[in-house]
């Protein structure tokens, strides 16, 4: 009797991978990263305060983390905006250059066509 093994269930793996892929997509914007850090920090602070480890230290840590990550997020957001603006400018410049080159090439072709027309010898009447 053959010892047949069932095929590995790849569907679950695919679902898990897709979930993480989606989660990473959601976390792409810097602001989302900031919110995640904020939630984690608040949870941590809640635990610190609840267990009376050091309430003051807990609050100081929370404020420091929030300020630090707010600065990082703002910087990342600004860099992203600059990149977006640069890409838009690049596209505009490309469009302008494309139009100019097409017009110049059309003019060049036209003048070449006219030049060859002029060069043709006239037929004798």
């Amino acid at each position: 009797m053959k010892n047949e093994q069932p095929p590995p269930d790849t569907a679950i793996v695919k679902v898990v991978l897709a979930f993480f892929e989606k989660a990473l997509d959601v976390l792409k914007p810097p602001l989302m990263k900031f919110f995640v850090v904020l939630i984690v920090t608040l949870l941590l602070a809640f635990v610190l305060v609840r267990n009376n480890i050091n309430t003051q230290l807990g609050f100081v840590l929370v404020i420091m983390v929030i300020v630090l990550f707010a600065i990082i997020t703002a910087t990342l957001q600004y860099a992203e905006m600059r990149l977006h603006y640069t890409k838009l400018t690049e596209e505009e410049l490309k469009r302008a250059l494309r139009d100019t080159v097409t017009e110049l090439q059309a003019e060049k072709k036209e003048s070449q066509r006219q030049h060859t027309k002029k060069k043709k010898p006239r037929k004798k009447a």
Partner: protein
């Protein structure tokens, strides 16, 4: 029906480009080197050419671009490279390329970009054709 020429010496990448072009429902013809592409351009009329920059020589893609523009100035050309420099990019645009794209990785991002650019290039060609007829 619009004809698209896809030029790349690497069959995998050419296949990806073909897939990106076919997604728009146009007839796609392939060439695996610059010389073959130039020959095909001389024999057929293409609305769009998508070419790799570096094949048998460093910048054969620019020769393909020149050949396409000499045949018909309305043929749009998208130049793709993995080794881009701003100077080559400007050269390509100056020669009349519709766009110059960098293939940073064989991932889907650059492929999606090409897929986006194909209908834009064909629309641009049609608009210019109409404009020239009006003139």
């Amino acid at each position: 029906m619009a004809k698209i020429l896809v030029v790349d010496d690497e069959s995998d990448l050419r296949g990806q480009l073909k897939w990106a072009a076919e997604g728009t429902g146009r007839e796609v013809i392939e060439a695996d080197n610059g010389k073959q592409a130039i020959k095909l351009i001389q024999e057929h009329n293409f609305d769009l050419v998508i070419t790799d920059l570096k094949m048998e020589t460093e910048s054969i893609g620019l020769d393909v671009l020149k050949a396409a523009k000499e045949k018909d100035i309305l043929t749009q050309v998208i130049v793709i490279t993995a080794y881009g420099t701003p100077a080559i990019s400007v050269d390509a645009m100056r020669l009349g390329a519709f766009d110059y794209l960098e293939r940073s990785a064989p991932g889907t991002e650059s492929l999606e970009m090409i897929r986006l650019k194909v209908p834009l290039a064909l629309d641009y060609r049609n608009a210019k054709q109409k404009e020239m007829r009006m003139k």
